[in-house]
């Protein structure tokens, strides 16, 4: 371990550390543009120059490995002068249009120019101008502002795995562009905006609508997919302007998928801001009192066994537990949180969790993906798998659709019969899994939907046991969910109680008249026609399929408008925070259910969020420890018996950009669908490196 001295302070660091990283360990900040800790080192901006004794000239510290006995100066007169020179060159072709630039206030170049810039320019010649490039509908470009740090090129090549960006021409004429100016077909493209240290790549949909210092920042959790990525919701007044990722190395590192980032304009559109009651076949505006009375009138005259409830994909745990308690007090066993009918087993926690954890994928050395397209279902997870793949010594195979996942994998087949073959040990890939130190499988919802779902789950369990995926300190059995509410719902047992019906059963019952009242808690993805003549109560935030079918609409809150609990696909309990208030008369969902319970004369036993959270813990102890992971016991067998069909195990997501009421209401997501055909690039023309 080399020892070196930085600014008079000694430090011992691991060999291979760069001078910049060593300085960072000492808390010494070195300015930089091109260096980013999660990207390959480029060393082209020269802003991080430092002086190292016995070296003839200043050295780029980001690309300089430490050496024994180095004496580094990061802030003496020479260094400052060198950096001032670099800054002057960087600013030569930079337009200095900070007052009209969206990056203003959060711009690395602006900040560092405060420290190293001159008060005037000595450059009298003409500046170069660069034509705007097509980076797709999400990113607005101002390429004249580009300082050619190449962070965007490195991100899209290394992390996203869709190498469509490059720097063409050279010297004065060098320009960063997309291949043939054809846009970026990547589901992670929004991260380029965060990475760009200047205002060359800015948030397209939100451009010119905010100044960064006007925004109120609220740390929250994403619910657009089941990963529960850490986000920051930036709002101005009562309007969400943008959503940014926060650093959370356990889940999303510092990346965020495009749907999670850009669907926020859907929070302002198609909103339910007041109650509606269906009169003469038409939904008419109503007061809360009228709406609750209408529900109570219907429910009071209906037997509990004729009432059912379905929880949607973005329902929070508080409202699910409240709805479950309400249904219990009404005497109804018919509830389900699995809109897609996935054959998940709520009784064994390990059977529906992503047990290896997202970060654990980096320790895995053989992976089988079954019935899932992680690129569409959880793009940030896909980037993690790719990161592992790039390290080498990692074998990946896939059962299900063949398509580009940004890393190479072996395609074993389409149907569950191939999984059966692997599980029985007859398939050559079984040996790969068995001989691996830490083998894992990812089971997508595509494999679990359908009548044979439980049987596929049992097969996966069989494979996990046979291939040694579960051992001390490692559980490679992973279920990848697509809905943020799913694990929470299963943790709370929001599934058919004794003698109860599942989603298919409820729909069947409603069509036959055996179910008369259906409560939809933000459930929009079921077949509304199947509800037949049932009286439908819709609690939710958006005027989507559910609200259109409903007889009574009770306006709820979206995830940015409540402090609510979600459990991600790993089983991590996390809380969103209220960033803005729900529009109009809309209320938090659990409060609606609490009021409804009063109206039907079966009041729930909690009046405050604290009491409700206590009830959550009582329902399942995992809720007592937010943000920490509790490993789930592997336990006895789970899943079900039965033959498996031979249909292709395709992902349940057709269009990455539109999966839920918020993204379906989003204009930006509609533009993306038009531009990329919903495929986030997965269906796009293949480039040379695609496997």
């Amino acid at each position: 371990m080399p020892k070196l001295t930085i600014d008079g302070r000694e430090i011992e660091v691991e060999a291979g550390t760069t001078v910049l990283q060593a300085a960072e360990q000492l808390g010494i900040e070195i300015p930089r543009f091109c260096y980013h800790e999660r990207l390959a080192i480029a060393g082209n901006c020269r802003m991080c120059l430092v002086e190292i004794e016995k070296m003839p000239k200043p050295v780029a510290s980001c690309a300089m490995p430490v050496g024994e006995g180095m004496v580094v100066h990061t802030n003496n007169a020479n260094v400052r002068k060198a950096r001032q020179g670099v800054m002057e060159f960087l600013l030569i072709n930079h337009p200095l249009d900070c007052p009209i630039c969206d990056q203003g206030g959060e711009c690395d170049l602006q900040d560092q120019a405060m420290a190293y810039g001159r008060d005037h320019s000595r450059y009298d010649e003409e500046k170069r101008a660069v034509a705007e490039k097509n980076f797709g509908p999400l990113i607005k470009t101002f390429m004249t502002r580009c300082i050619q740090c190449t962070r965007c090129i490195r991100f899209i090549t290394e992390i996203a795995g869709t190498p469509v960006l490059g720097a063409v021409s050279r010297g004065e004429h060098m320009e960063v562009t997309t291949y043939l100016d054809s846009g970026i077909a990547s589901e992670l493209s929004g991260n380029l905006i965060d990475l760009c240290p200047v205002g060359a790549l800015t948030n397209g949909p939100a451009s010119y609508t905010y100044r960064s210092w006007e925004l109120k920042k609220t740390e929250s959790v994403d619910v657009m997919d089941a990963l529960g990525s850490a986000i920051r919701v930036d709002a101005r007044g009562n309007e969400v302007v943008r959503v940014l990722p926060r650093v959370n190395d356990d889940i999303n590192e510092e990346w965020l998928g495009d749907r999670s980032r850009f669907a926020c304009d859907g929070l302002k559109r198609q909103r339910l801001d007041r109650c509606y009651v269906r009169k003469d076949g038409k939904l008419a505006p109503a007061s809360w009192g009228e709406a609750l009375a209408a529900v109570a009138a219907k429910v009071k005259g209906t037997a509990g066994s004729k009432i059912a409830a379905i929880a949607g994909d973005q329902a929070d745990c508080e409202s699910m537990v409240a709805l479950k308690d309400l249904m219990a007090s009404l005497g109804s066993p018919h509830l389900d949180c699995r809109q897609d009918g996935a054959g998940l087993d709520a009784s064994a926690r390990a059977s529906y969790l992503f047990n290896s954890t997202v970060a654990g994928i980096e320790d895995c050395d053989a992976l089988l993906i079954v019935g899932s397209n992680p690129r569409k279902e959880a793009p940030v997870l896909n980037a993690r798998i790719r990161k592992r793949w790039l390290k080498g010594g990692f074998k990946v195979a896939r059962i299900g659709h063949k398509g580009d996942l940004t890393f190479k994998y072996e395609h074993l087949g389409d149907g569950a019969s191939v999984l059966a073959e692997v599980a029985s040990g007859k398939h050559p890939f079984f040996e790969v899994l068995k001989s691996a130190q830490r083998p894992a499988l990812i089971l997508g919802q595509g494999a679990l939907v359908g009548a044979d779902g439980p049987a596929v789950l049992a097969l996966a369990r069989k494979l996990a046991d046979a291939a040694g995926m579960v051992k001390d300190g490692w559980n490679g059995f992973n279920v990848l969910h697509t809905a943020a509410a799913r694990v929470g719902g299963l943790d709370l047992g929001f599934v058919p109680q004794a003698g109860g019906r599942d989603v298919a059963g409820i729909l069947d019952g409603a069509a036959k008249g055996e179910i008369e009242v259906v409560v939809l808690l933000g459930a929009d993805e079921i077949d509304m026609k199947g509800l037949g003549g049932a009286f439908v109560v819709y609690i939710g935030s958006h005027g989507d399929a559910g609200a259109h079918r409903a007889d009574v609409v009770l306006p709820g809150s979206a995830y940015t408008e409540k402090s609510a609990t979600y459990v991600n696909t790993e089983g991590r309990v996390q809380r969103t925070r209220l960033a803005v208030f729900a529009p109009g008369e809309a209320k938090e969902d659990w409060k609606i259910l609490r009021a409804l319970s009063d109206a039907v004369g079966k009041p729930l036993a909690y009046d405050t969020p604290k009491q409700l959270r206590d009830r959550l813990v009582q329902a399942n102890p995992v809720f007592a420890t937010p943000d920490t992971l509790q490993p789930a016991a592997w336990g006895a067998a789970f899943g079900g018996e039965g033959p498996v069909s031979d249909k292709a195990l395709a992902t349940t997501i057709d269009n990455y950009y539109m999966t839920d009421p918020i993204s379906r209401a989003s204009k930006v997501m509609a533009e993306c669908t038009a531009a990329f055909g919903g495929g986030c690039g997965c269906n796009h023309k293949k480039t040379g490196t695609h496997g």
Binding site: T157, P163, L165, G166, A167, V168, Y179, T687, G688
Partner: protein, 199 residues
């Protein structure tokens, strides 16, 4: 934007050549062959089209943008079609001091085109280029693979007229000088005899 052909394929001989080049590099490092392959493609068509870049990207298992980066970095790859004779006149400092302005003017006059243009008959494309590394024989121009050096307005014109007639003028210095030996014969080491042709 130049009109791009929709497809590109190496001719059988060129494909052989390309495969030989690729075989020079270890497995997994075949991307190193991108420059020679671009050159082979350019020799086949006279220029490198987008279709050619994509074909090369496919052959070398790399992203097309990476090939495009290389092809646009080096000015010697022609990204637009050029005439049968690509006349590249150096106007960098050594050539400039030795009269490249006259050479350029003579070439423009002889061909009737400006920089970057191709003659109507498709025979000549005239380009202004940076240093080609023949400074000792400045001023100079490159026509396809041949260097014509120690030019004057007259010799430039003569070369281009000869090419128009279908002749192949002799490459190298046009003022009777041998390679880059001192102009006008040896000035130092006077006793050293050049061209000691015996018999």
């Amino acid at each position: 934007m130049t009109e791009q052909p929709t497809s590109f394929a190496f001719s059988p001989e060129n494909l052989e050549k390309a495969k030989k080049v690729i075989a020079k590099y270890p497995a997994g490092r075949q991307q190193s062959a991108v420059m020679p392959l671009l050159d082979i493609a350019q020799r086949q068509d006279g220029w490198v089209s987008v279709a050619a870049m994509e074909e090369i990207a496919r052959m070398l298992d790399m992203a097309p943008i990476r090939v495009q980066e290389v092809a646009t970095f080096y000015t010697m790859y022609n990204l637009k079609p050029v005439g049968t004779f690509h006349v590249q006149v150096c106007t960098n400092i050594c050539c400039l001091l030795r009269g490249s302005d006259d050479v350029a003017a003579a070439a423009k006059q002889a061909l009737g085109v400006e920089w970057g243009q191709t003659t109507g008959d498709g025979l000549f494309t005239l380009s202004e280029v940076e240093c080609l590394g023949a400074c000792t024989n400045a001023p100079m121009m490159q026509i396809n693979d041949d260097y014509y050096e120690d030019l004057s307005a007259e010799s430039t014109q003569a070369i281009l007229e000869a090419l128009k007639r279908g002749e192949t003028p002799k490459p190298g210095p046009q003022n009777g000088r041998q390679f880059s030996a001192p102009e006008g014969g040896p000035t130092t080491l006077k006793e050293l005899a050049f061209q000691t042709e015996k018999g």
